[in-house]
């Protein structure tokens, strides 16, 4: 035991020595500080050549598909646009009622009326028509792959990692190849959103089919079911709930991609409205349009999850025909009535422009007033964060500390104090707790002094690989090394570090804030009740919309991106912390109570350590959310990989965009595997069940 422990410590000390050596040597050996240009493998150019070849030789094929898919979209669009708004509003409310009752129906009514009155009805319907095609397609594709993965382990082994990549590759990177293959137009949004939204359906299909209890299957077999009867009459209906959950997730993913896809323009939908108003700095307008998206997302989410929750409640069979089919009958009757009414009163079929009500101008004025009057406060927050947190992390204390920023210069004396202080802290922690914490402090202090972007790349690669190896075994270690190797070899290392820097700060802050709120909510039902709708709203909110308020106040820049990422990514931390703390084994809590632990002892010495594995899953989700938001944050001017993807998209440079996209996916997947492996390891150690 002791020998093993010492070996682990020795490995890490070795890593620290190697890191310091790299730092010391990087002035002598320039290939260390910067990956040499001559060794960069031109993957991007290669990809471009391949893509050009495909477009030249098979372009007709993809354009053909594009042409075919254009028709159903046009059809749905035509129907939705020519229906009087009052009919659509009625049908939406009816569906909402069928899914979850009166409250949702009323909410849907006010939301849709808002869209009408504010003057974004047509744009909303254009987005909806795209969704109406992409969701069924995504569900169909996802279900088929899910069934394939369920029946064939070999297929599953191919499907699962592919899904990982599909779900972590930044949304903009998707658009690139699709744009090149299928040409401009609404079809790009459709295909992108199908590709982006079918993975959750696959996962849920596999999980759902697999979770059907053995005895249900066996009872089906004993009843003499043929293989196809067993599938359609036993497996599928028994997993309806999970399948509908998949539909819900696919729908939400589809919506977010439809919105993102409007970045290529020409769609005249609500996403485009948000983007173009942001670009024109019309923040009032963009917020109003963003609200439309948020409302759409909420209605669609509640409706589809409502149906999922309701599956299993059945109407007793003895009800009459009218009662059983009341929604269909209501839909037909209502549609006819409202169609007639719309013929008589034209206001019901098309809301007149002069009656449109938009508080955008007032909002813009209010914002200007706010910014003018609170300029100092607003600026102070930004400056503090920038000088004391962001800059040192990015370029290190060695460069960030100057009379201009910190009020004093970093003299050798200060450096010496820093070095001695950190070593002393590490030593104290090693003695007080364990050597792992000491090691972490040492590594962190090196990072903080040198700055992430100034760290020699071999050192970073080494630290992450050894970390991966220690947490998840040799496979993860090698995987990490290969992944970071890819970043170096393809020449996107500097941008990757910028992405990690921005995301890293956001993740740490989001996780701290989120976990604190989660801990609070776990002990206080009021806080929990307040946080739940806020979390729900933030999670269903399309990413664009979250950007808006921060852009309004801080304009474009890294700080805006940071705030937006935090705002989006702290939610899972709240959820998992609360969930983890509220679901601890009761007997342990009781035992601790009986030992006479105080409230704080209970929290820090019993509850948090036990809930830590679950909280780590929250961290995992926080990381995933942060990376998703980082991609969108490229719009407000960041410098990392996400920006390359975005530039690749706007320049139509397939190779560069895709390489950067894959780079981001690599970072995301490594972070995902590490946190998951850690959580699993901890959970097994504690003998808790993996939830």
């Amino acid at each position: 035991m002791l020998a093993k422990f010492d070996r682990g410590l020795a490995h890490w000390l070795g890593v620290i020595v190697a890191t310091l050596a790299c730092i010391a040597l990087q002035n002598e050996l320039s290939w260390m500080s910067e990956y040499p240009d001559s060794l960069i493998v031109p993957f991007a150019d290669l990809l471009n050549v391949v893509m050009d070849w495909v477009v030249k030789n098979f372009g007709w094929f993809f354009l053909g598909i594009s042409w075919l898919l254009e028709w159903p979209i046009k059809g749905v669009r035509w129907v939705l646009n020519s229906l009087p708004w009052v009919v659509s509003v009625f049908l939406v409310c009816l569906v909402a009622h069928a899914a979850s009752g009166w409250r949702l129906s009323v909410f849907a009514l006010f939301s849709t009326l808002y869209m009408v009155v504010i003057g974004y009805w047509e744009e909303s319907m254009n987005s909806l028509s795209l969704l109406a095609i992409s969701v069924p397609l995504a569900v169909l594709v996802g279900f088929s792959f899910g069934v394939l993965g369920f029946y064939s382990r070999r297929a599953e082994k191919v499907i699962m990692p592919t899904l990982d990549v599909l779900q972590t590759v930044p949304a903009f990177a998707y658009l690139l190849p699709i744009l090149m293959l299928f040409g401009f137009g609404t079809v790009v949004g459709l295909i992108a959103s199908v590709l982006y939204s079918f993975p959750p359906m696959v996962r849920n299909t596999i999980v759902g089919l697999r979770r059907v209890p053995d005895e249900v299957i066996e009872s089906g077999l004993m009843a003499g079911a043929t293989p196809s009867q067993l599938f359609w009459q036993v497996r599928v209906p028994s997993s309806t709930r999970q399948l509908l959950l998949g539909v819900n997730q696919a729908t939400m993913a589809s919506l977010s991609m439809v919105i993102i896809a409007s970045i290529i323009g020409g769609t005249a939908d609500i996403g485009w409205e948000v983007l173009s108003t942001i670009r024109k700095a019309q923040f009032g307008e963009s917020l109003l349009a963003g609200l439309v998206i948020a409302l759409m997302a909420m209605i669609i989410d509640r409706v589809s999850s409502g149906f999922a929750a309701r599956s299993g409640d059945y109407d007793p069979a003895e009800k009459s025909f009218t009662q059983r089919n009341r929604y269909w009958i209501g839909a037909i009757l209502g549609t006819v009535v409202f169609l007639v009414l719309a013929q008589i009163f034209s206001i019901l079929s098309e809301w007149p422009r002069e009656l449109e009500f938009s508080p955008a101008q007032a909002m813009n004025d209010g914002l200007t007033y706010l910014i003018v009057n609170f300029r100092t406060e607003i600026e102070t927050v930004k400056t503090l964060a920038f000088f004391f947190v962001m800059l040192p992390t990015k370029i290190g204390l060695q460069m960030a500390v100057s009379p201009f920023t910190w009020g004093f210069a970093l003299t050798p004396a200060y450096t010496a104090i820093y070095v001695i202080g950190m070593i002393a802290l590490a030593a104290i922690c090693t003695i007080r707790w364990n050597s792992r914490i000491g090691i972490w402090i040492l590594l962190f202090s090196i990072f903080y002094y040198v700055g992430l972007t100034n760290m020699p790349w071999p050192a970073v690669l080494l630290i992450y690989s050894v970390g991966g190896w220690k947490i998840g075994g040799p496979a993860l270690g090698i995987g990490t090394a290969l992944g970071f190797g890819f970043l170096a070899v393809t020449g996107i290392w500097p941008e990757a570090m910028l992405s990690i820097y921005l995301c890293g700060i956001a993740i740490i802050i989001a996780f701290l804030i989120g976990s604190s709120i989660g801990i609070w909510a776990a002990h206080n039902d009021t806080v929990s009740a307040i946080m739940r709708p806020i979390n729900d709203t933030l999670q269903t909110m399309p990413l664009f919309v979250i950007l808006i308020p921060f852009v309004m106040i801080y304009k474009i820049g890294e700080f805006t991106a940071l705030l937006a990422i935090i705002a989006y990514a702290f939610v899972p931390a709240v959820r998992y912390a609360e969930h983890g703390l509220r679901n601890l084994p009761e007997h342990v809590i009781e035992a601790a109570k009986m030992m006479g632990s105080t409230k704080w002892q209970m929290l820090w010495q019993v509850k948090v350590p036990l809930a830590l594995p679950v909280m780590m899953l929250g961290l995992n989700q926080t990381i995933m959310f942060a990376i998703a938001m980082l991609v969108i944050a490229a719009l407000v001017g960041t410098n990392g990989l996400e920006q390359i993807v975005y530039i690749g998209l706007s320049d139509g440079n397939f190779g560069v965009g895709i390489i950067a996209g894959i780079g981001m996916a690599i970072i995301a997947i490594i972070a995902d595997r590490m946190t998951q492996a850690w959580s699993r390891k901890r959970q097994t150690e504690l003998g808790l069940e993996t939830s």
């Binding site: 209890p213 066996e218 059945y314």
Partner: protein, 362 residues
């Protein structure tokens, strides 16, 4: 419970030298169909050494027509696997399963589906109900798979619903029912197709003790009406005693002993079986027929009871009748008499064997 006659009855289902081995290459241990195996335990041990898992080792038994055959064993003893081998939910590695003398393992998939549709019914420990179907549709589900129309399905289902006492619950969903009621649905469903062979895999283990007792009585009542050929799996020795005509005790995948409950109690094959039988309340197992003695005097004026009567049920009578009671056989013929002294000595001796083991009563 006429145990004597069932021994002579026709064999309905026969399990012959069935092995089930899990692992990488289970077949390689039975290259010539298992004929070379001399010592079962030795062979099983050698299979286990190779990293394979032996779920069933050379299991053989017969189930007679109209008999309740109980397979009893602790968890991991292979009892659930063997009942699944009998219906080919689990494919045996080697051996024969004869249903009416016909080898089930030679059947094609289509034939097997047909057999399951018409000849077999099964009840599961966790009920195995379809969560998306209400009570009547769950019960009629096997009929639906056969392609029967709704009227036919419902009339047939309604009949078994009455049989298990679920009237008025037809449109409830499984999650709205208590465990006991859910298992009634499971039982009704398995009976809907009027099977010859009825498998029950720990049907009452998931229920509370009181409900369990109630369901056991229900089961006995049903069987007294239906006379199915039954394979009943349980880990509860007392449950086995209550309902078995004959029973098999399993350990480590192999059958340790087969016999009537009373045979097992009176002559446990080894210390493993004795561990189960040692805390059995004898008065609930021994019957009048087990303690008869030759009458010394006239039988005039004495009470008469059936040989099937449990000792526990006759103790009250004997307390007031020192001379004893006349024990009758099936046809009313006199088998002998039972006395209070006979009861006491049988109980004291632990069922007539091993008078030394005083500690079992401690």
């Amino acid at each position: 419970m006429n145990t004597e006659s069932s021994d002579r009855a026709k064999v309905k289902l026969s399990c012959r030298n069935v092995w089930k081995v899990y692992g990488a290459q289970p077949d390689r241990f039975f290259k010539d169909g298992g004929k070379q195996i001399r010592d079962t335990a030795e062979h099983a041990a050698s299979i286990r050494e190779s990293g394979h898992i032996v779920a069933n080792a050379d299991v053989s038994f017969d189930v007679h027509v109209g008999e309740t055959f109980v397979i009893m064993g602790l968890s991991g003893s292979g009892k659930s696997t063997i009942v699944r081998c009998l219906s080919r939910l689990v494919e045996p590695t080697t051996g024969e399963i004869l249903l009416d003398g016909d080898n089930l393992l030679k059947k094609t998939d289509a034939e097997l589906i047909d057999i399951r549709r018409h000849k077999m019914g099964m009840v599961f420990q966790s009920f195995g109900l379809m969560p998306h179907l209400n009570v009547i549709d769950n019960i009629a589900f096997p009929l639906k798979l056969q392609g029967k129309n709704e009227t036919e399905r419902y009339s047939q289902a309604e009949r078994v619903i009455k049989l298990v006492g679920l009237e008025g619950r037809e449109s409830n969903f499984p999650k709205e029912l208590s465990g006991g009621q859910q298992q009634r649905v499971g039982i009704a469903r398995s009976l809907a197709v009027e099977p010859d062979v009825w498998f029950l895999d720990e049907p009452f283990s998931a229920l509370d003790p009181l409900i369990r007792k109630q369901m056991q009585n229900e089961f006995l009542r049903l069987q007294s009406v239906l006379h199915k050929s039954i394979v009943f799996i349980t880990h509860d020795f007392h449950e086995a005693l209550r309902i078995a005509d004959r029973m098999a005790i399993m350990r480590d995948g192999a059958v340790v002993q087969i016999g009537r409950p009373v045979d097992l109690i009176l002559n446990p094959a080894d210390s493993y079986v004795r561990d189960f039988t040692s805390d059995v309340p004898w008065e609930g197992v021994l019957r009048a027929v087990d303690i008869v003695e030759q009458p010394s005097g006239s039988l005039e004026g004495m009470g008469r009871i059936s040989g099937d009567t449990l000792i526990g049920d006759m103790m009250g009578y004997l307390a007031g009748h020192e001379e004893g009671v006349v024990v009758e056989g099936d046809g009313g013929n006199v088998l002998g008499i039972a006395t209070a002294r006979g009861v006491v000595s049988a109980l004291a001796a632990g069922g007539g064997k091993e008078p030394t083991s005083a500690k079992r009563y401690a």
